[in-house]
Amino acid sequence: MFGDLAALTGRALRKWIRNPAAVLPGLFTAVFYLALFGNSFNPTSLIPSNIGGFQLTTAELEQIRVSILSQTFGGAATYISYLTAGIISLILVFNMAFGGIDLVLDRQLGFLNTLLTAPISRASIYFSGVAQNMVKAMTLALLTFLIAVVLPNGLILGRGFGVLDFLGAMGAFALLAFALSCVFTALALSVKSIDSLVAIVNFATFPLVFTSTALFPEGGFPSWLLSISNVNPITKATDAARLLMVNGILSSAQLTTFAWDGVYLLVFAVAMALLGYLAANRALSPK
């Protein structure tokens, strides 16, 4: 089982690495989002210095900015520091969603059939799909994080942010990535054409992202949106990673929040793995 899983995942990743065209757009998107959202759409730079004839001093403006960051954006040093976690989540969601295209192609080109007549378990076919998309998306997540750190005016990590915090943040993203990969791999194995995959994915991803705290703080959410956002795993992963990235050293209350988010993500991931496996098994059994 693990040998088969390794063989199949290895094949997919080898193809991926050999084809730089498959990696570069992902990186480009990351840089683009960071630069665009992080700087151009920075809400703290939108505060007018003159309000109804009342002229704010630079110091006052700065104070307002800091208050917005601390009260609305969870104490982030800059807007981009707040946003990075959300952009990583966004990248994970989109890469997972469209990563299934390779699997649909495998079906259409008959490669899947050669797997189905080989003496390997259906589980290894399914989990190799999960694993390959996860590795691809997590690589991009990692690169996005690094880019955010080195970008001028980029991510400013919380004081005391260390290796464990890094691992914690990436762990939260990995759980989200795994769960999403389970869902979208099962979907990709179940559909017959790329068109239907893209249609479903387009329909699903935007609501998923925009009902989470990935891009906007929940302060402005109406109550209905808040109740969705509170159970959205994207919110959980983003919040957990953001907590570490923004604060570095956590207070015990923050640590508890982080832990509960982690538990939530873990349970969700296991549930999606099981459901996805059942769906994939159905999709792979002879018709």
Binding site: G3, D4, A7, L8, R11, R14, K15, R18, N19, L109, G110, F111, N113, T114, L115, L116, T117, A118, P119, I120, S285, P286, K287
Partner: protein, 338 residues
């Protein structure tokens, strides 16, 4: 084939009343029954859409069986599908080798997925690359392969785990005559040297004729006839022998007296007759003619082709069934066959 009589003959593939219904109402295969013995090359001959691929899909556990039973390598296809998968090699109609991987990488991947020990897989891959004349292309990505090279690689991929039985779906589809002849040689060699049992499909008459020990003609999901190619042709009435003689007595009566000869006709000194197997009757005929002091001025015989068999059982020629692009191949086949 005496060596086949000596060997203990066991059925490697056994299908009984196999049917496939694609909902809502496509009856792709309707109650086919057949048996393929160990070491045999068995061919399914039929036009596009006859149900050849569907039959292979059922036997290789890819498609569910709507009704009927099938055993492959002694295992029940429905209930013991994983044991079936361990015993078979499949070369599908479509080309599934990975374009972005090298030829050898595709082979090694196939070996790993069939649990060939790592210590053996490289050697096996090398052997097969050699057998299929792909050694030089082994390190190139499949993207750069020609259609014929892809087919050969595909066959190698289906063999890398030394299966007992091989399913070949249209192994020479889209190949030129030269490459097709080569592929036939490979199949013959694998069958002779390794005792591989082969189940193959084709819609090339010459291929079925030259390659298969036995064939089944399938049309609209139904097996019309099944036998050895020569028996099938014999049933059509055998060869037509044309023999021209020097002036002398009328030999119509003599020809009629030769066993198996029928339908003797005479035009001047040229006689025509039907014989199931000319090779067998010819010595008697020549001897009889010479004994009566006559000289043979010309002699020729034509073998019936499977096309005639096909016409007889389906009411159409294979050519009518083929697409326009394919018809030239049939023409070439017939020229070569006659």
């Amino acid at each position: 084939m005496p060596e086949k009589l000596v060997r203990k003959v066991t059925a490697v593939i056994q299908a009984e009343n196999l049917s496939k219904l694609y909902p809502p109402r496509t009856r792709a295969v309707e109650g086919v029954s057949f048996k393929v013995d160990e070491g045999e090359v068995f061919g399914f001959l039929g036009p596009n859409g006859a149900g050849k691929t569907t039959t292979i899909k059922m036997l290789t556990t890819l498609a569910s069986i709507t009704s009927g039973e099938a055993k492959v390598a002694g295992y029940d296809v429905k209930r013991e599908s994983s044991s079936v998968r361990k015993s078979i090699g499949v070369v599908p109609q479509e080309l599934t080798a990975d374009d972005e991987l090298k030829g050898i990488e595709n082979l090694i991947l196939s070996a790993r997925l069939h649990h060939v020990p790592r210590s053996e897989s490289t050697k096996k891959a090398q052997d097969l690359l050699k057998l299929f004349d792909l050694e030089e292309a082994a390190q190139r990505r499949v993207r750069t392969y020609s259609g014929g090279m892809r087919r050969r690689l595909q066959m190698a991929m289906g063999l890398v785990h030394s299966p007992k039985v091989m399913f070949l779906d249209e192994p020479t589809l889209g190949l030129d005559i030269q490459t097709r002849t080569k592929v036939w040689d490979y199949i013959r060699r694998l069958n002779k040297e390794r005792g591989l049992t082969v189940f193959m499909t084709t819609h090339y008459l010459e291929e079925a004729d030259g390659l298969c020990d036995r064939i089944a003609i399938i049309d609209h999901g139904v097996i019309k006839v099944s036998d050895t190619p020569s028996h099938l042709k014999e049933k059509i009435g055998g060869d037509v022998l044309t023999i021209g003689l020097s002036d002398g007595e009328d030999l119509t009566q003599f020809f009629n007296s030769v066993p198996d000869v029928s339908d003797v006709s005479r035009e001047g000194q040229v006689y025509k007759m039907k014989i199931p197997r000319t090779e067998r009757a010819l010595p008697t005929i020549i001897e009889g003619v010479t004994k009566r002091g006559l000289k043979i001025t010309e002699i020729s015989f034509t073998k019936p082709t499977l096309d005639e068999v096909f016409l007889e059982v389906t009411g159409r020629t294979m050519r009518e069934e083929e697409g326009v692009q394919e018809s030239w191949i049939q023409n070439v086949n017939l020229e070569r066959a006659t």
